[in-house]
Every structure is written in structure tokens, then in C-alpha cells.
Amino acid sequence: MQFDTFLQTLVNGLFIGGVYGLVSIGLTLIYGVMLILNFAHGEFMMLGMYVAFWAFTLGGLDPYVSVVIAAALIFLLGAAIQRGLIQRVLTAHPLNQIVLLLGVSTLLIGLVQFFWTADPRAIHVPYETEVIQVGFLRLSIPRMVAFFASLVTSVALYVFLQYTKTGKAIRAVSQNRDAALLMGIDVKYIYMLTFGLGAAVTAAAGVFLTPTFRILPTIGQSFSVTAFVVVVLGTMGNFIGAFVGGLIIGVVEVFAGYYLGGDVKIIASMTVFILVLLFRPAGLFGRKRA
């Protein structure tokens, strides 16, 4: 592999990895706060993509504009699902939690397929295939925008969690639920807010991908699996770990795609996943074995 090809592949991997990072931040945030594996995570992304699609098709809105609508809508949906469904199983057997979320995932995919068919959709924006040349690197504009938009969203969420009162409350709940409760934090409200936020940033990540990805009812499933890989790699519940893990998996996938062919690249991330699960289940940023 030539150096310029190597660099080009690396950049491509980092670009998609940034989006994986944002999706995984949503997942890791939810896990960190309420210790629940959101098996319906990819579906929020898929719904975000459909919102962008309809905003573009019906209202002519550019995805980079409609991302606000998508995030707001999916925030509300996520919050409603948390309050109405997930809150009730937080103390149940983990199997019940997983089955409930798989049920939600199945239901959402079914509803989308029912109303909007299983046909792939696409948004054709004018800048779809535009590239800029930096030295010998060819940077696809929509992919670059997706990366930087994901990065900005992640940083914004990080700042929110670090420096606002609500953000601090979220972190307090994730550190110690009971202590947070005793300090007067409305834990139920924080749960709802966190789930909504996690769903919203995931939907945003989906929207950032719409100029370059086909939209399908089942597209969320593969992203769910990728996000699980990333959060385990970056330590479950670790915010920065999720973003870094996203970048790593993005790069691994793109290089695997280069060497093994596009449709087999997932085997590379699965291998990474299984290896991490086996040899370092606490992830890269974990202190000890889980």
C-alpha cells in the first residue's frame, strides 16, 4: 500500500469513525446512566434519517438544516419511550430489559416498513459527490461535513455534561444513583432526559450520513452492532472512550474493506470486538476487568 493510499484510507476511516463515535456516545451515555443496553439504538438513527428524507422530499430542506428537526423529534420519542416503557423495567431481570428493547426495535422497524415500505430511499443533494483536493488527498465534502458535524455535536454534548447544572446532574446519577437522589436530583427526570439526548444525538448522526447513505428500515441494526462494538472497545459508559473507539473502528473497517472487500469488512470489527470482549472486557479506558 502506497503512502498516499494509506493516508487516504486513514482519512476515510476517521471520517466514518467520527459518525460511529457520535452514535456510540448516545449508546454509552444511556448505558452509563441507567445501565441498560439500548438494543433499539440504531432505530433512532434510522428514524432520524427518515425525518431528514421526508424533510428533504416534502419540504426541500437540506439535511444539514433538518438535523435540528430530526434531533428534536427523536429526543421527544426517546424521552417518551424511556418514561413509558423502559422506566418500568429498570429493576427487572436483564433479559426482560433486552427483550423489551428488542421489541421496541422490531416495532419501530415494522412501523417504518409498513408506512414507508422497505424500499431504499436516498437524498440527492447537489454536493453529494463533491470533493476537495488537499495535496494528494481527495476529501468527499459530505463525508467531511459528517465528520466535523459529529465532532462538534460530541464536543457540545461533552461541554453540556461537564459545565451545565443539568449535565452535572446526569453525571452524578451515572456515578451514584442513590447519592444523587439524596442530593435532591430528580433521577427519573434525568433518566428520561438522558435517554432522549442519547436518542437525539444518534438521530443527528444518522442525518449527517444521509447525503452518502441509502436509507432503509433495517439500516439501524448494523449501526447498533457497530455501536456495541465501539462502546465495549471504548469502555461502557465512557464518553471520550466512545468517540475514540468510534474512530478506531472506523479506521479498522475501512482498512479491512480495502484489503478484504467492502462486504467482509464487518468481520474485522467483529474480530476486534470478540478479542476485546475476551481479553480486555473493561475496554481501552477501563481500569479493571468487568
Binding site: 418500568r88 428488542l102 421489541g103 416495532l107 408506512f115 452492532v225 474480530t271
Partner: protein
């Protein structure tokens, strides 16, 4: 006679062997579930006398298969409490084993299907050994099985020997018993029923045996079970072995019935929900009757809704199963069997109030 006296069936002594049998069953909820399951199997056995349409028979066959596969998952997840979410890998592997043996080596499914059980159990053993060696528990175990499903799907998509992305099918030109290929639906139904009946009996035997008690101990509190001297690794492995072997056999039968298999179809979380999770969850996970009852209710209902209310639009079955799962977990975590059990206990209490008084006096 002592059995009758000990049963909570009231003061009247039972007459004749049938009466005694009935009293024994009535006194024991596990036997009651077994009896209902067997009666359901017998009733389905007579169904072809009434149901002539191949379409409805097909639904019934799938319901029977879902019940059987549900039992195999119920033993691992419902009894032993293991988060084996992607149980579908064993069904998929079983389906592939049967079709590969049949088309590549000319081995008939009567041998191929049991061989599928062995192959799937091999994978189950590997999973058990790996996850135990590295101490993967709970959520991590669940994720591991899903990762394995995705990895296997990719592998099978590329593996020319098993048909790669094209998949594999059976040549259907000559129906014969020997090849387990039939031109009518009835033989498939009876083979499925035989499997289901075997599954029901195995499940009952496990539940009543010491093995089953160890499984329940694992589910309720693994640390406590280990502290009391239960070899948790052994019983986890056994649970996985039994579940995967039964799942593989189910997969072999699934192959013979649907006659075609391809990676995206079987290594799929959607099919996993429909084929594996739905029946035990809706029927009552961890109960004996749950998988059978759940499958017989949800499969026909989903097909009915798809066929009538929504005119076969895609997505309907997903909506139905998704809604079923959500509703079951939220409103009846013990499933339909739980509702029936509540009714049974209430009825029993009403029929024999004096016995209850006695019991209360004894406890006091």
C-alpha cells in the same frame, strides 16, 4: 391412595385410574402444564381433519416449529437465565448442516437433522468454553452472541461451499419419505409434532430433575448458587449444550420445511425475534407451557392480522411481534401461562377452602 390424600384436591377420594390421574395432575401445576401441552399436541394432530387449506396448515407447521424452538431457548434463557439473545445462530447452523449433508454428501435428513443437533451443540460448547474461560457474563455474553451472529453471517456470505450469498436449496423433484420431502403439508406437520412432543417431554424432565433446579439456581442468583456449592460453569455449559443441540435439530427441520436457506435470512435479529424469542416471552418465559402456548397464539394471530387487516403489507408481522414483546414484558411478565396459573390457583382455592384452612393451621 396416599398420593390422593396428600393432593390438595379436597376430601373426596378419587375413583378409578383416570380419576386418580386427574387428581394427580390437578394437584400439581407442573403436571397440569405438561397435560395441557400434550393435549394441545394431540389437538393439532387432529387439525388436518378440519383444516384442509395448505396455507393454514403451513401456519400451523410454523407455529409447531416456533413452539419447539421456543422450548430450546426457554431451557437456556428461561430456566438457566442465560442471556443467549442470538439463539438463531444454532437454528441457522442446523439448517445449513442439514442442507449441506443432503446436497453435498447425499446424507438423508433423517441422519442429517440429528447431525445438525450435534454440530450446533459443538458451537454451543465452543461458546460456553470461550465465555466461561474469559468470564463473560450478562450483557457482555449477550453482545458476544450477537457479534458471533454477525461474524457468522459474513462468513457464510463468503463461503462458496455453503452456497455463499446465493444460499442453498433442496431439489424438490422427487418427494419421498426417505428424503423427507413431501408434496403435501401433513407429513411435515406430524414430524414437527413429534419434535414438539419430544421437546415438551425433555423440558418437563429437565424442569423436574435436579439439573433443572440447578438451572433455576443459576437464574435466580448465580453468586448464591456458587456459594452453596453449585458448579455454575458446568451447569451453564450444560444449559447451552442442551439449548444449542435442540436448536440445531429445529434448524434442520426448518430447512426441510422451508427448503431454502441464505445467510441474511437466517442470521437475522428479526427472524430471531419471530422464531426464538416471541413464543416463550408471550407464553411465559421459564414456564413449561409458555413456549407451546405462545407459539400457537402469536404465529396464527400475526398471520391473521397480516392476511386480513393489512392485506399482506410488509412490516405487519414485525409490528405484531414487536408489540407483543413490549406488551408481554410490561403487562404480563409471566406471560399467558402466568394468567392461566393465577386462574388455576384461584379456582383451586375456591374449590377447596377447607384444605386451605388446614394448611393455615399447620403453618401456624
Amino acid at each position: 391412595m396416599s398420593a390422593v390424600k396428600n393432593s390438595a384436591s379436597g376430601p373426596k377420594p378419587a375413583r378409578g385410574p383416570l380419576g386418580r390421574l386427574w387428581h394427580a395432575i390437578w394437584a400439581d401445576w407442573d403436571l397440569m402444564q405438561l397435560a395441557i401441552s400434550v393435549l394441545l399436541v394431540v389437538a393439532i394432530g387432529f387439525a388436518p381433519l378440519v383444516i384442509r387449506s395448505p396455507y393454514y396448515l403451513g401456519i400451523l407447521i410454523l407455529a409447531v416449529l416456533y413452539g419447539y424452538v421456543g422450548i430450546s431457548w426457554n431451557i437456556v434463557a428461561g430456566f438457566a437465565g442465560q442471556l443467549l439473545i442470538a439463539h438463531i445462530i444454532f437454528i441457522a447452523l442446523g439448517a445449513y448442516t442439514t442442507v449441506v449433508l443432503y446436497t453435498r454428501f447425499n446424507i438423508m435428513p433423517w441422519i442429517g437433522i440429528p447431525a445438525s443437533g450435534v454440530v450446533a451443540a459443538g458451537l454451543g460448547l465452543v461458546i460456553a468454553l470461550i465465555t466461561l474461560r474469559y468470564g463473560l457474563k450478562a450483557d457482555y455474553f449477550a453482545l458476544f452472541t450477537i457479534a458471533l451472529m454477525v461474524a457468522l453471517k459474513t462468513l457464510f456470505l463468503k463461503w462458496e461451499f455453503v452456497g455463499a450469498a446465493v444460499g442453498m436449496g433442496l431439489r424438490l423433484n422427487e418427494p419421498s419419505w426417505e428424503k423427507m420431502i413431501f408434496s403435501t403439508k401433513e407429513p411435515y406437520l406430524y414430524i414437527g409434532l413429534a419434535l414438539l412432543l419430544a421437546g415438551i417431554l425433555v423440558q418437563f424432565w429437565i424442569y423436574r430433575s435436579k439439573l433443572g433446579k440447578y438451572f433455576l439456581a443459576l437464574r435466580e442468583d448465580e453468586a448464591a448458587a456458587a456459594a452453596l456449592g453449585v458448579n455454575t460453569s458446568l451447569y451453564k455449559t450444560l444449559a447451552l449444550l442442551i439449548g444449542s443441540a435442540m436448536g440445531g435439530i429445529g434448524g434442520g427441520y426448518y430447512m426441510m420445511y422451508v427448503t431454502f436457506v441464505e445467510p441474511p435470512q437466517v442470521f437475522d435479529l428479526g427472524l430471531n425475534v419471530e422464531l426464538v424469542l416471541a413464543a416463550p416471552i408471550i407464553g411465559g418465559l421459564g414456564s413449561l407451557l409458555g413456549p407451546v402456548l405462545g407459539a400457537l397464539i402469536n404465529k396464527p394471530l400475526a398471520e391473521l392480522i397480516r392476511g386480513t387487516l393489512t392485506a399482506g403489507r410488509s412490516g405487519t408481522t414485525l409490528i405484531v411481534y414487536g408489540a407483543f414483546l413490549v406488551a408481554s414484558i410490561l403487562f404480563m411478565p409471566r406471560g399467558i401461562t402466568g394468567l392461566i396459573q393465577d386462574g388455576y390457583l384461584r379456582l383451586k382455592r375456591r374449590l377447596v377452602p377447607e384444605r386451605e384452612e388446614e394448611v393455615r393451621r399447620d403453618i401456624a
